[in-house]
Symmetry: C2
Subunit: 328 residues, 2 copies
């Protein structure tokens, strides 16, 4: 199938076009870095994920919750990219989830200054009928009980589920989280979270333990040091695409998941080899995201830029070697 | 030229066989890790470098200094690998350089508990005439004034010099170090040292500044996170080969330099592409070194294991991607 969108280049990629579902938060963020400060910009895991998936998927449904303070213009940014927002519940009289944080000098660690859950507190995700049979599903960082609620509504017999989570749920809702982890195909977490989840310092050992918990594939993100994929008894070690100037790291992990999942909607099969490519795609999306505040960069990224950066990444990381190299 | 060494496999690699000179310390080390403790084992930068180069080079000279407490058996470990030790000065009545250190729980940072310079204090390197025209030269971590003394004795018109250094010299002997840096082709330092040397946090910017100081090529080592090569306006980003269990990180950087330089003695030309391969070879040598205490692992490594690990590294880090991948 070849669908042509007027005015952009997405048609290039649309061939397989599996149905994709994104479940996660939509938010307003206030972000401080050592260099800049912004108040109340569009954010939330599902927002970043959806922006990234939309570069590949013409059949993407979004399940989230917002208050009636959520700007129509912000929702329109997603729908005009082809995202189906029927699953986004707008709570009358409610306020949208709000997060305020400050990044430290290393641009890597951050302090949360304010979290107002608002409508997220009673979020009960409702997957629209049209997306219950989605073949690729991304469950963004949320309370594991909420993640489970969403997963239990799916009726697709063949699906690939990617889960994100974070240290807070590992520390306080471990039993609930373990139940969700057992239900997914791929978990994407960072190195500290992998260590927290397993008690193993070695990432190889941590991945092996997580594999036993359920997921066939494990991605461990290492920020500026890249990411690793484990599965089918194999390992893939990717560096991070080098960025001259990180402006705002918010949403990097979500864009990573979104780019990865979006790419998978277009592959004939989902296996270790296509996941390697998907991981690279995800990394490149993350590299765009951190170059500007909020969704500014990922909203604008063109597929030609994406492909150029992927080929550049290959050139930066591949080396020539064959059986004859040492026998000079 | 094909030289066959009885009882090992080095003959496989010996074709170009450029002359190689190693200048650096020989030492006895006492090492504590969270798991083990050893007293007085063979160490020193030049020792590790020479063990690694010997896997490739049949024409390698060593310039160093030892006391008469240095065991003949330890020197024999090097000479029986074909290392020419005529440039190793034995100071009668002197004691060999001694270092005692403790690695912390992360196996990455360490505390020096004792440094006895001994014969190193008055070390005045003398390059044997037979090695003054060496085509590949490795100057290990030493006082920059001593490094300069060695470099000034060379009379080869075409040579490639690799320099190692460390934070101590950058902090206390900056002017002398700058003079040496201006004389070399490649400098190999870690990320913190690159930042210290340039005042730039970004490694790309740091490399650009070091390039202006003289070296055509810059390698920035990032420990477990790999290494980067800069030169000819290009960048190569390599991950580190994953190790199940780091036993002793001592000598990793020196084995890296030695493996890299040894490989270069066998390449027809030294340029960005062969340096990419050399960097990979160096990383793999470092990965062997840290799997055992002291020189134990690097002393024993066979070329078949080396090649196997390099091919494994390629499989771990390369991904398939071509112009058609996104147009699925």
């Amino acid at each position: 199938m070849q669908i042509v969108f007027e005015g952009d280049e997405r048609s290039l990629f649309l061939c397989m076009n599996k149905k994709l579902l994104v479940v996660g938060t939509m938010a307003y963020d206030a972000i401080e870095t050592p260099f800049h400060k912004v108040d109340r910009i569009l954010g939330g895991a599902a927002t970043y994920i959806a922006f990234a998936t939309s570069k590949f998927s013409a059949n993407c449904g979004l399940v989230s919750v917002i208050g009636d303070d959520f700007a129509d213009a912000d929702l329109a940014k997603l729908t005009k990219l082809g995202i189906d927002a029927a699953g986004v519940e707008k709570v009358a009289g409610g306020k949208t989830f709000f997060w305020r944080g400050r990044y430290h000098d290393d641009m890597n660690t951050r302090t949360t200054l304010d979290t107002q859950l608002n409508v997220l507190e009673n979020f009960s995700p409702k997957v629209p009928d049209a997306f219950k049979d989605s073949q690729v599903v991304v469950i963004g960082n949320l309370h594991p009980a909420v993640q489970k609620m969403a997963l239990e509504q799916l009726d697709s017999t063949e699906r690939f589920v990617l889960l994100d989570s974070m240290n807070f749920w590992m520390e306080h809702f471990r039993a609930e989280l373990d139940e969700v982890i057992a239900m997914v195909d791929l978990i994407s977490i960072n190195d500290e979270e992998a260590r927290l989840l397993t008690g193993e310092y070695s990432l190889t050992k941590a991945a092996a333990k997580i594999h036993v918990m359920g997921p066939k594939y494990i991605i461990i993100k290492k920020g500026e040091h890249g990411a690793q994929l484990y599965g089918e008894g194999k390992v893939f070690i990717a560096s991070a695409f080098p960025i001259d100037q990180v402006v705002d790291p918010t949403g990097a992990g979500d864009s990573f998941a979104g780019g990865l999942a979006g790419f998978l909607t277009q592959t004939a099969t989902i296996n270790f080899d296509s996941l390697k490519q998907a991981l690279v795609v995800g990394s490149i999306f993350a590299s765009f995201t951190v170059e500007a505040f909020g969704v500014e960069a990922i909203e604008k990224v063109q597929n030609t830029e994406l492909e150029k950066r992927i080929l550049n990444f290959r050139a930066l990381t591949h080396f020539n070697w064959d059986d004859k190299t040492l026998n000079l």
